[in-house]
């Protein structure tokens, strides 16, 4: 009898943990949605900030985040995929392989603020790129590299070895097999990782604080060497640097809602693709 009572209590405690976690998260997300939805409008999205950030919208920040993410992904995705190809198809178990794997894992664990300092020291100061779109994009590219590598590696290793062997049997070289068989077969998986990384990069704040972001810029970025506004940094700046807290709070919530919707829709797309892939794949 006693045992059953313990079991009841224990399982209720587990249930309580779920309710508590889910409740917490629902509270969090609904509060952002409810407070953000109030300021959302066509004008809020498509116009720039006005009157010392107390009115207007977030268009320059959206554009800045778009360019930062796009450029970062354009740099990190080709390098990351090729690195994964090397690790998967070429590397034999040597010391170099284990060193590179350690490097990738270490990079994945480096705190984002350290990427920010690295970008500032190397791109902004040493290479003289100044605080600019390109410095920020390169910093974000390095940050996203380990994520691209790990996800692409996983996509490549889900391709059946038979495909490669069939390709060799037809007389194709290793390069041809990789480019015509391995990568095309793994492409949906690789695409998922690209989308996932884009979402991750779009939401980063600390790495662009000292490399690309500016609190206020009336104009949209015209060249790679311009400072840009970015949505995550915009939220932070509105909350901490403004002087009109009462008016800037709602704008910050609105920006956060847009950022949240952006990131969540990007990552849901990638999750849906992955889910379909897993269902379809039967080898």
């Amino acid at each position: 009898m006693n045992r059953d009572v313990y079991a009841k209590i224990g399982i209720s405690a587990l249930y309580a943990a779920v309710v508590c976690s889910v409740g917490f998260l629902i509270l969090f997300i609904t509060s952002i949605f409810l407070k953000g939805a109030g300021v959302l409008s066509f004008e809020f999205i498509f116009s720039g900030p006005r009157s010392a950030m107390t009115e207007g919208g977030i268009w320059p920040a959206l554009v800045g985040t778009f360019w930062l993410s796009l450029l970062a992904v354009m740099v990190s995705v080709p390098i990351g995929i090729l690195c994964a190809v090397w690790l998967f198809a070429y590397a034999k178990s040597s010391r170099l392989v284990s060193i590179i794997k350690i490097c990738v894992n270490t990079l994945a664990g480096v705190p984002s603020i350290i990427y920010g300092l690295f970008g500032m020291a190397i791109f902004v100061n040493m290479l003289g790129l100044d605080v600019s779109l390109i410095s920020g994009a390169l910093t974000l590219a390095v940050l996203s590299l380990p994520i691209v590598i790990n996800a692409s590696y996983e996509a490549l290793s889900s391709v059946s070895q038979d495909y490669m062997e069939a390709s060799y049997a037809l007389g194709a070289s290793k390069r041809q097999s990789i480019l015509r068989v391995l990568i095309p077969t793994a492409l949906p998986g690789i695409l998922t990782s690209v989308i996932l990384v884009t979402g991750r990069v779009a939401g980063e704040t600390a790495p662009i604080m000292f490399t690309a972001a500016t609190f206020f810029n009336r104009q949209l970025p015209k060249s790679l060497s311009d400072e840009v506004m970015a949505l995550p940094y915009h939220i932070f700046a509105l909350m901490t640097e403004g002087t009109h807290a009462a008016k800037q709070g709602p704008i910050a919530y609105g920006s956060a809602l847009i950022l949240l919707l952006l990131v969540l829709s990007i990552s849901s797309v990638s999750l849906i693709i992955r889910y379909r892939l897993r269902k379809k794949r039967q080898w």
Partner: protein, 286 residues
């Protein structure tokens, strides 16, 4: 021609692979190159153990003990909240809930893990902090307690997802063997499943620790920002990441303050590196 292209392609992939080494080397080089010169002026002993962080005073002092205390106290607080909730919900999802619930939970948890940290920071600053201030009659709601809750909320999906993976890796036969011996569900969970998933759970905790320690935006916005050893759970603290991000904008290129912030980054890098190494070693043992 074909041979040449084959070799060129191989070299291209090799260069990209070596690129990751260069990226890591670049990160290590940049923080050490900019941070180490500090120790020509300030001894490492007074840097690590000094409790006075006055980098902008005329007689500037660079003691980071209070910042280290800030980082560890917030991280500990976050884990105290996230481990029981994360592990508890992972067990519930994988062992008790119907399979359909689990199919829904898994992707939702993954989505939550991708929410930008600045959004958590906003929630902490604009929603939770005023609530905590009223509830406990404090002067300010931006403190260790609030920051721990938000940070805990943030690492909760990560810990829960990793624990769930560890539990679902345990073969079904082990559960059945336990039931066959007459154990009920709770006894199976506590005496069989948790011990079997131990390494995975420890890995999840270490991962959560690293994530919380390195997190910047939440602690910058919510922890309060006073460089002091916390005296209660409602103390205002200044974790390492918050100090770096808040102060870098005020520094002059390569002055002592600038160098000290890079030296802080060295400390942060070494600690997080040690933890990721530790979790990898534990993972390998398995």
């Amino acid at each position: 021609m074909k041979k040449l292209l084959d070799t060129l392609f191989y070299l291209l992939t090799l260069i990209c692979a070596v690129g990751t080494m260069i990226a890591l080397a670049g990160i290590i080089f940049s923080i050490f190159y900019e941070g180490l010169p500090l120790f020509k002026t300030v001894s490492w002993r007074s840097f690590l153990f000094g409790t006075a962080w006055y980098p902008t005073h005329a007689n500037a002092e660079f003691g980071i003990a209070t910042l280290i205390a800030g980082s560890f106290s917030v991280t500990l607080g976050a884990l105290i909240i996230a481990i029981p909730l994360g592990l508890g919900s992972a067990i519930y999802i994988s062992e008790i809930a119907p399979p359909r619930f689990r199919e829904i939970c898994k992707p939702v948890i993954e989505l939550l893990a991708g929410i930008p940290s600045v959004v958590y920071g906003l929630f902490g600053m604009a929603f939770l902090a005023p609530l905590i201030r009223q509830l406990f009659h404090l002067e300010s709601g931006l403190n260790l307690f609030t920051a721990s809750i938000i940070l805990g909320l943030m690492v909760l999906p990560i810990i829960s997802s990793m624990c769930e993976d560890a539990l679902s890796c345990i073969p079904k036969a082990i559960r059945e063997a336990s039931f066959a011996l007459g154990a009920n569900k709770w006894e199976t969970i506590t005496r069989v499943l948790i011990p079997a998933a131990k390494t995975g759970v420890i890995g999840a905790v270490l991962m959560g620790f690293g994530r919380a320690l390195g997190e910047t935006m939440v602690v910058l916005m919510v922890a309060g920002g006073s460089a002091q050893i916390p005296s209660s759970i409602f103390s205002s603290v200044r974790p390492i990441t918050a100090a770096i991000s808040a102060e870098m904008g005020e520094t002059v290129f390569r002055d002592l303050h600038y160098q000290s912030l890079f030296a802080l980054a060295i400390v942060l890098f070494i600690v997080t590196f040690a933890f990721s190494l530790l979790s990898e070693l534990i993972g390998k043992k398995k």
